[in-house]
């Protein structure tokens, strides 16, 4: 099998990602545990070390799994996304209760203007996360979207979400 991983030049600067993974894992452990005796803490440390080792072997520690560059901008975007989510939820619930006559399902492709894979994934996931639209496929920079009615797709094509995700990137 060919090596399908990110190219080798990435390798030298894996350290920040490893450190961030270590920190997130530690927080995860501490938040979950609730027992702060020496034994449990040291076991936790060993566990984290083991997980880090396995993660490195699996080659899953890189800029894709630890999007460091996005950390600061995510909360603002998420707030906006929550607002969108609530609005679209209301519209879908309306469609459900009003019955099948009000829906007009559409399958179409839209363009994702993000440069990185990570941006595209965030965009696609945001599309799916707002009910009413589901990102069905992602090929190149084309996202196939299924929407429950034409208004939803029109809102997506207006490109508000696209722009916001793009702004996340740089």
């Amino acid at each position: 099998m060919p090596e399908n991983k990110s190219p080798d030049p990435e390798k030298p600067n894996l350290l920040p990602h490893t450190i961030s993974l270590f920190l997130t894992l530690s927080v995860f452990w501490l938040l979950n545990s609730g027992h702060y005796t020496l034994l449990i803490l040291s076991l936790g440390l060993i566990s984290i070390a083991l997980v880090l080792y396995i993660a490195h072997r699996m080659d899953v520690v890189d800029h894709e799994s630890q999007p460091l560059h996005l950390t600061l901008k995510i909360p603002g975007y998420f707030l906006w996304l929550t607002k969108e989510m609530i609005l679209s939820n209301i519209s879908v619930v309306k469609h459900i209760w009003l019955g099948n006559e009000t829906i007009s399902p559409v399958l179409t492709t839209i363009k994702a203007n993000q440069k990185t894979d990570m941006g595209k994934v965030i965009y696609a996931n945001s599309i799916t996360l707002t009910p009413g639209t589901v990102a069905v496929d992602l090929v190149g920079d084309q996202i196939t979207v299924h929407a429950i009615s034409r208004e939803n797709i029109a809102a997506l094509q207006a490109g508000e979400m696209d722009r916001r995700v793009c702004r996340l990137e740089d």
Partner: protein, 307 residues
């Protein structure tokens, strides 16, 4: 219902339902196990087997009359038998009167663990659990013996399936999500492993979750990649090492002058000894379960890919 995939899906719902039921019945540890086993691994294994054996069933082969007769007779007899049983939820049923009060009242002093299920599992009934672990190990060996990949099957299937090794290239979203999630699943499994003393959890559950993470990796990144990460020989050794660790603790307790699996003698203080012993054997259980699950899945999956 002749489509076996649909049957598997429905049995997945059944597993989810029974786990909710176990939570409602206070059996949190059992629910935990059912959550990790019944809903995930079981349906995955069945799916693999169905892809290996064909999807539909011949409907002419039913013999419903006979079966119905047998079923109704047996069911009737069983229901007749239940008439003498104690009522549901009654506190003075025979089962609650013998050993259970002792476990509930004394286990805290004797083992120092709040989770009674763990202390009973690992300490009071350590023999049983040892047996169970050996059974799991044997089942793993059995699967290995049955499914270890032979060279004789046709080439065409390899051609048909080979594109799916590259699943992670086609599914960008999946790849990134999996990459983010896997470390957390692994760590969560270890967390479950070491917090089985205090809350629901323990070696069995942790092993299954750990294996589930590796199975997820194998599914998304392809079996060959997963095989490279998780060495086959190492997994086989690990499954044996778990059993050995369990048995070894027993032998050490015997050398220290106690009975087999009597952890009191492991350390100066009996409670500390219990704690250490339980920790070690849970670790053994976890190793064996995780390794066996990985072995089972890899062999099924390897059979499919015919590598």
């Amino acid at each position: 219902m002749r489509d076996l995939f649909a049957v598997v899906m429905l049995s997945g719902i059944f597993g989810l339902l029974s786990a909710s039921f176990f939570v409602a019945m206070d059996a949190v540890d059992v629910a935990f196990t059912e959550a990790s086993v019944g809903a995930g691994i079981a349906s995955l294994l069945m799916l693999t087997a169905v892809t290996l054996t064909g999807r539909s069933e011949d409907s002419e082969r039913h013999r419903p009359m006979w079966a119905l007769v047998v079923v109704f007779i047996t069911g009737g007899l069983l229901i007749y038998g239940t008439l003498d049983m104690p009522y549901f939820g009654s506190a003075d049923a025979p089962i609650h009167l013998h050993v259970a009060p002792r476990y509930i009242n004394d286990s805290m002093q004797e083992t120092g663990l709040p989770n009674i299920v763990t202390s009973v599992l690992a300490s009071y009934r350590g023999f049983d659990t040892f047996g169970e672990v050996v059974v799991i190990f044997t089942a793993g060996i059995g699967v290995l013996a049955l499914l270890r990949v032979g060279r004789r099957s046709g080439i065409h299937r390899v051609m048909a399936d080979s594109i799916f090794y590259l699943m992670h290239e086609q599914h960008l979203i999946l790849r990134i999500t999996t990459k983010i999630l896997i470390p957390f699943i692994l760590l969560f499994a270890l967390y479950v492993q070491f917090h089985g003393d205090f809350g629901p959890g323990g070696g069995f559950q942790a092993g299954v979750i750990f294996a589930a993470a590796i199975i997820l990796y194998a599914m998304v990144f392809g079996l060959p990649t997963a095989r490279r990460v998780v060495n086959r020989t190492f997994v086989r050794l690990l499954s044996a090492a778990g059993v050995l660790l369990y048995g070894g603790v027993g032998v050490v307790t015997m050398l220290n002058g106690g009975n087999f699996l009597d952890y009191n003698v492991l350390a100066g203080d009996p409670v500390a000894g219990q704690h250490l012993g339980i920790l070690l054997i849970e670790l053994g259980v976890g190793c064996t379960v995780a390794a066996v699950m990985v072995i089972i899945f890899f062999n099924f999956s390897g059979r499919r890919d015919n590598l």
